[in-house]
């Protein structure tokens, strides 16, 4: 759930999503679900000469399973909070066992 919650906190921020077919899409994170499927709005493709396939697309849905990387706005990410949440989730999982 950590990554789901984390991406939810990034809704409204600009991200770059790199797919497993090397296509990189830059856009505003509109929504995310439990599978880390994402909807981006106002997108642009990083290399439109190589990838003109999406020129007329402004909003898109990306299946979580095809994502290779997500580039995040580093000034919008509280890494301290992130590592704390990670530890908390780990300890919670352990106590449940």
């Amino acid at each position: 759930m950590l990554f789901f919650s984390f991406f939810k906190s990034l809704v409204g921020k600009d991200v770059v999503v790199e797919l497993k077919n090397d296509l990189s899409i830059c856009g505003t994170l509109h929504s995310v679900d439990q599978y880390l499927n994402m909807k981006l709005s106002d997108i642009t493709v990083s290399d439109p000469d190589r990838f003109p396939h999406m020129l007329s697309v402004k909003n898109c849905f990306i299946r979580g399973s095809v994502v290779r990387y997500v580039q995040l706005p580093s000034d919008q990410v509280d890494t301290q909070l992130l590592s704390d949440s990670c530890r908390r989730e780990l300890t919670e999982a352990k106590t449940k066992q």
């Binding site: 797919l19 995310v32 679900d33 909003n59 898109c60 990306i62």
Partner: protein
């Protein structure tokens, strides 16, 4: 409240012209008539846009299509105004690489 606005479904693209980029690297354009939780997709009046480095984009009519969710990478809402302005005959690009499909 926020939860409802977060819903990451394809509802907003229903009955709109959409581009589906598939796991095997094809680009299929058609009217989105339905979908389900697994992202299985129904496209009506679907056409494949075949990209090539040596010639313009070739449009191949496909008809009514059910694309299995496993084979869906991107679903894009087509802005028809922008799409009309694109001269596909003069667009040259290598076809998209496939995404490895598990199973």
């Amino acid at each position: 409240m926020l939860k409802y606005r977060m819903t990451s479904s394809l509802d907003g693209y229903m009955n709109r012209v959409t581009t589906v980029i598939t796991g095997d690297g094809r680009t299929i354009v058609g009217l989105l008539k339905g979908f389900d939780q697994l992202i299985n997709i129904i496209l009506e009046d679907a056409h494949e846009r075949v990209y090539s480095e040596t010639a313009g984009v070739e449009t191949v009519p496909l008809g009514l299509y059910i694309i299995r969710g496993d084979n869906v990478a991107i679903v894009g809402e087509v802005d028809e105004e922008i799409d009309k302005r694109i001269d596909l005959d003069n667009v040259k690009a290598s076809p998209l690489a496939p995404i490895w499909i598990p199973g």
